[in-house]
């Protein structure tokens, strides 16, 4: 079991916002990757999905199964054949001001030669009647080592100021 965690890189979005956050030239020297994010988009909704793409590779290789609670009901579902991984819910512009969606993506064996499985969990913040908790199992059906990750959001709007992303490498000591 991997038992150390090293910060590889991080970013905080500045005052103008940012359409995407990308990590390039990810070293292959770790066992797993852990990406911790705190994000808010410009979407006029309570719930905006974060999209995750590896190695700038789109196509139809991303799929996921998810469990979601929105504060009043629970639901489940699946997606397949997508060009990006539908990851967590970020907070949108309708959420309580200055709140962010927070989540983690864990990517084991990211540098290996098998397809890449990903676990994703997140919540978004809203001091109102609707907020989301999401747990997903994702799959990128591609055997290439992951060397870059791009984060965008489903509404194709900017991540707002103070959104953050921290990428950690995890390995055996």
């Amino acid at each position: 079991m991997a038992n150390t965690m090293t910060l590889i890189a991080s970013s905080t979005v500045g005052s103008g916002g940012s359409s995407s956050i990308s990590f390039s030239s990810i070293p292959g020297t770790y066992t797993d990757l852990l990406l911790k994010v705190s994000l808010r988009s410009g979407a006029s909704a309570y719930n905006d999905y974060v999209l995750l793409q590896f190695n700038s590779s789109g196509g139809t290789a991303y799929s996921d199964r998810q469990l979601t609670g929105d504060g009043s009901a629970a639901s489940s579902g699946n997606r397949s054949g997508n060009a990006q991984m539908f990851a967590i819910a970020s907070s949108g512009a309708s959420n309580t001001a200055s709140t962010f969606g927070n989540g983690e993506y864990y990517i084991p064996n990211y540098a290996g030669s098998a397809n890449k499985s990903i676990s994703l969990d997140a919540v978004n913040e809203n001091n109102g009647t609707e907020a989301y908790a999401n747990l997903s199992a994702g799959l990128w059906s591609n055997t290439a080592a992951i060397t870059s990750i791009v984060l965008t959001n489903n509404s194709a709007t900017n991540f707002v100021q103070y959104s953050t992303a921290y990428l950690y490498g995890v390995k055996n000591a």
Partner: protein, 77 residues
């Protein structure tokens, strides 16, 4: 007015770059926003329809009246 920007962090060097989108990338972003809004509307409509079916199924169960197949499907796990 400048175009929106994107952030790229090179994990080998640690250098963070803030890169202005090209005009073509801005157009693509605007097109993606239209598609996303349409998809969102479809998802919202489907969620509303499902909630309506569930409520109807529950009311009929309580009243002891027959359910439609669509209503019954909302109860089968």
């Amino acid at each position: 007015m400048p175009n929106p920007t994107r952030i790229e962090i090179n994990c080998e060097t640690g250098v963070e770059s803030i890169i202005e989108l090209t005009d073509a990338e801005v157009k693509q972003m605007e097109a993606d926003q239209v598609v996303a809004a349409a998809r969102r509307a479809e998802e919202d409509a489907a969620a509303t329809a499902l909630a309506t079916l569930k409520a109807s199924a529950k009311a009929k169960l309580v009243a002891g009246t027959p359910l439609t197949e669509a209503e019954a499907n909302t109860l089968v796990l």
